[in-house]
């Protein structure tokens, strides 16, 4: 069997790192493997992926020991450009890595650099446009594409260059559940039918673990290699069915919904009773809000006639396809977008950003400007003329141990927690989070959920936009489903998610409507 990617005693430390990001990693990924890198944020997944095409160490600096061979080529002697014909890399934030402005040009870019013959290139672009079903975007400016569209363009652009190895960092993080499933099916097809080697990292294991045939688990830079089942056994992470399996002591631990159903056959669970969460007074009231964006002088409606009320004590997950209007809704509530018709009231008046409402944007980096995590929280407190006490906020988001670190040297998930702490410190009664899932591992997720509950429990209200069904199931008290700028569903998670083929969480898929989290199911079984 030929080895596609070979990591030999790889030890790598970032320039700022105190500990190695990868410690003595030795892994062989054979040709035709469908491999998954998993582990907590900062455990070394991204570093591992980036070393597979030479970005580590050529673009990071740092201390590098050991060797990485890509189709037999040493990455130290071959910078990424000289590996571009065999390995393609799709980074976490696909949008930031686009070179050109137009979709079809972007897809052709890698082939141009490889000197692919124009006639062949032409056919190949058409093929890619069809394969990822983005033909109608071909002339579109990438800046006008939604997150999910960009992700598909990025994959098309990577595939177009005809690599034998494809490396993807969280390829489904921007995709809705349906889109994610199609991308995974596509990748599996490439592996099975065409012998391609695929290596990907993903936090939302429920989306990927059923597809892959090899797993590399990371824990503080050390790697464990094996089948997905073996590796999941050694790590504290896993999809919800695996967590349930561990909670109730199933052996073997199920990895997929199908495994879960088989294991649960002996545990028929009736639909759980309804619990009506206690809610208080209205915090946010939207009445017939209509918001439109301008595109080259032409109005494009983004929210149509939306009426909605957020009460004290509620945590609302805003879901829907890419481009459904989730971000627009949050920005309207925050008071940075004014509705063209209808009105927005927070606590009875027009919202004052940063006072009535705090919003953590999709790019949390936009608000980080201090040289320490604690300083970041203090900046908010000073601006709001609040006492200079950063510690409680750091504690609430579980980042006290990072207080003295530089925010820009943290992992994506940690940066999100820092940004959220800086937003939370405004003490605004309404806290909004826009897609807080990029790079978020289970640990950080748990901190985030705990914070949201504390906030809502203290008389506040929170909303978050997300594609992450399991996060919605675990954290939300209410689900708002948007499509084409309209509310198409609004209700308790058990009803809205239980009723959906696409948005049903794993526990609902295994045990039927009403069951949302492994903890809830385990408690009922006990």
């Amino acid at each position: 069997m030929t080895i596609a990617l070979s990591f030999r005693n790889l030890t790598f430390t970032y320039p700022e790192g105190e500990h190695p990001a990868l410690a003595d990693v030795t892994v062989d990924i054979p040709e035709g493997a469908f491999a998954l890198a998993l582990g907590a944020t900062g455990a070394g997944k991204s570093t591992f992926l980036r070393s597979a095409n030479g970005l580590v160490p050529h673009f990071t600096g740092g201390t590098f020991a050991g060797q990485v061979f890509v189709a037999g080529r040493d990455t130290l002697a071959n910078p990424p450009r000289r590996l571009a014909d065999v390995v393609a890399f799709v980074p976490q934030d696909a949008g930031a890595s686009f070179v050109l402005d137009r979709v079809e040009d972007e897809i052709a870019y890698g082939m141009e650099n490889l000197g692919v013959d124009p006639a062949h290139m032409r056919r190949r672009v058409e093929e890619m446009l069809d394969l990822l079903d983005i033909a109608d975007l071909r002339h579109r400016s990438l800046r006008q594409c939604s997150g999910g569209e960009r992700q598909r363009v990025a994959i098309a652009a990577a595939l177009a260059a005809g690599p034998r190895i494809l490396v993807l960092d969280e390829p489904t993080s921007q995709l809705d559940p349906q889109g994610a499933e199609h991308v995974m099916a596509a990748l599996q097809r490439l592996v099975h039918d065409h012998g391609m080697t695929v290596l990907l990292a993903e936090h939302r294991l429920e989306r990927v673990v059923g597809w892959v045939d090899m797993a590399i688990g990371f824990d503080e830079g050390r790697a464990t290699v094996g089948t997905p089942r073996e590796v999941l056994g050694t790590l504290a992470v896993g999809p919800p069915v695996a967590r349930l399996g561990r909670l109730v002591g199933w052996d073997p631990v199920p990895l997929t919904v199908r495994d879960g159903r088989a294991a649960a056959r002996s545990h028929g669970l009736a639909r759980p009773g309804r619990t009506t969460p206690e809610t208080g007074d209205a915090l946010v009231v939207l009445t017939g809000a209509h918001v439109q964006h301008e595109e080259l002088g032409q109005p494009r409606p983004a929210l149509r006639d939306v009426s909605f009320t957020l009460h004290q004590g509620e945590i609302v997950a805003v879901m829907g396809r890419n481009g459904a209007g989730k971000t627009t809704l949050l920005r309207t509530i925050a008071g940075v977008l004014a509705p063209h018709r209808g009105e927005v009231r927070v606590l009875g008046h027009t919202p004052v950003p940063g006072v009535d409402v705090g919003l953590c944007p999709q790019e949390p980096e936009s608000l980080l400007f201090n040289d320490s995590v604690a300083g970041e929280v203090r900046a908010t407190l000073r601006a709001r003329h609040l006492p200079d006490a950063d510690a409680p906020w750091l504690d609430r988001l579980g980042i006290s141990h990072l207080a003295a670190r530089h925010p820009r040297e943290l992992s994506a998930g940690q940066r999100l927690l820092v940004a959220t702490a800086a937003i939370a410190a405004t003490e605004a009664p309404v806290i909004l989070l826009d897609e807080p899932t990029r790079g978020l591992d289970p640990d950080s997720k748990a901190h985030l959920i705990r914070y949201l509950r504390t906030h809502a429990g203290g008389g506040g209200g929170a909303m978050f936009a997300t594609h992450d069904v399991e996060l919605a199931a675990a954290a939300a008290t209410r689900i708002l489903m948007l499509a084409g700028g309209e509310i198409i569903a609004d209700g308790a998670p058990a009803d809205v998610l239980g009723d959906s083929h696409v948005f049903a969480p794993q526990m609902t898929r295994v045990f039927g409507p009403g069951w949302l989290t492994p903890e809830q199911v385990a408690a009922a079984m006990a």
């Binding site: 030999r8 005693n9 030890t11 320039p15 700022e16 105190e18 500990h19 190695p20 410690a23 003595d24 160490p57 050529h58 673009f59 990071t60 600096g61 740092g62 201390t63 590098f64 020991a65 050991g66 060797q67 040493d74 130290l76 002697a77 071959n78 910078p79 040289d371 820009r408 040297e409």
Partner: protein
């Protein structure tokens, strides 16, 4: 103890495995020397060859030649530095961004001799080192000259002078020095450099003022005499104007230096790659 090979991007790791450095890399040092010597000669030749200096003339007469040599040297340097075997795409990207920042600041950010773009050259030179500082200074002046219509026989002189300013900042205490020391040194350098830049750029015109006055160059006089003349000339014509630059540089370094340097340092650290031979001891748990 494991053997350690340290390499910066200026001498990429590839050099370890390749027997012969690419042409670009071999040309780099000669080109750097050529450009700097040519720049120096361009400023100084009228002193050495007074016979060629006619009253009322200026560098317009030799600008063609100087332009060809300097732009050729700088262009060649850019080409080899930015090209294969040179600085690599990371540094190229930073030159693009910081050069654009210089262009953006050069236009609105000036009061008399002061110009906000000097801060970029100072901090970038200090953070990334003399070579980067020289290149950025030259590239930034060239690009901004193109855009703001400052094209003229003085342009290559400005490119070299600002390049020297950036290179000088690279020889000051850098990363790892205590902040007060580093900022203090850079601020003092900003003051000195502010005047020196003016003094050097004045040489562009001064040797051509052979009016015989106490401010002018006298080819027949002793060097010390001419130095006195030049000092008087500088004090009379440029000192006030350049004080804006000297003070402005220091104020900017003190107020903005630290966050800017912190940001650039993080990028600069990505330029240093250390390759160690695999060693099991390294992989021991921390």
């Amino acid at each position: 103890m494991s053997a350690t090979r340290t390499a910066t991007v200026h001498a990429p790791v590839a050099a370890v495995t390749r027997a012969r450095a690419p042409l670009g890399a071999r040309l780099r040092v000669p080109l750097l020397v050529l450009t700097n010597v040519a720049g120096l000669l361009a400023f100084l030749w009228p002193f050495a060859l007074p016979a060629l200096v006619h009253p009322g003339a200026d560098h317009r007469m030799d600008s063609g030649l100087i332009l060809v040599v300097l732009v050729g040297g700088l262009g060649g340097l850019l080409f080899t530095e930015l090209g294969q075997g040179g600085l690599g795409p990371k540094t190229v990207a930073l030159i693009g961004v910081l050069g654009a920042a210089m262009v953006a600041l050069r236009l609105p950010g000036f009061v008399a001799g002061f110009n906000a773009f000097f801060i970029v050259v100072l901090v970038a030179g200090n953070s990334f080192g003399p070579g980067f500082g020289f290149l950025l200074g030259a590239v930034g002046m060239f690009a901004s000259g193109l855009l703001i219509g400052g094209l003229g026989p003085w342009l290559p002189f400005e490119m070299v002078a600002v390049g020297w300013l950036g290179a000088g900042a690279g020889f000051l205490p850098g990363r790892g020095t205590k902040w007060p020391v580093r900022i203090g040194a850079l601020a003092v350098y900003g003051v000195i450099g502010g005047y020196l830049y003016g003094a050097i750029m004045n040489l562009w015109l001064w040797p051509f003022i052979t009016t015989g006055s106490a401010l002018a160059w006298d080819p027949s006089a002793a060097a010390i005499q001419n130095l006195r003349h030049y000092a008087t000339y500088y004090a009379a014509t440029s000192f006030g104007w350049d004080t804006f630059r000297a003070v402005g540089d220091a104020v900017m370094v003190v107020t903005l230096g630290r966050p800017l340097l912190a940001c650039l340092d993080r990028a600069a650290k990505r330029m240093r790659l250390e390759v160690r031979d695999a060693d099991p001891a390294l992989a021991a748990p921390p």
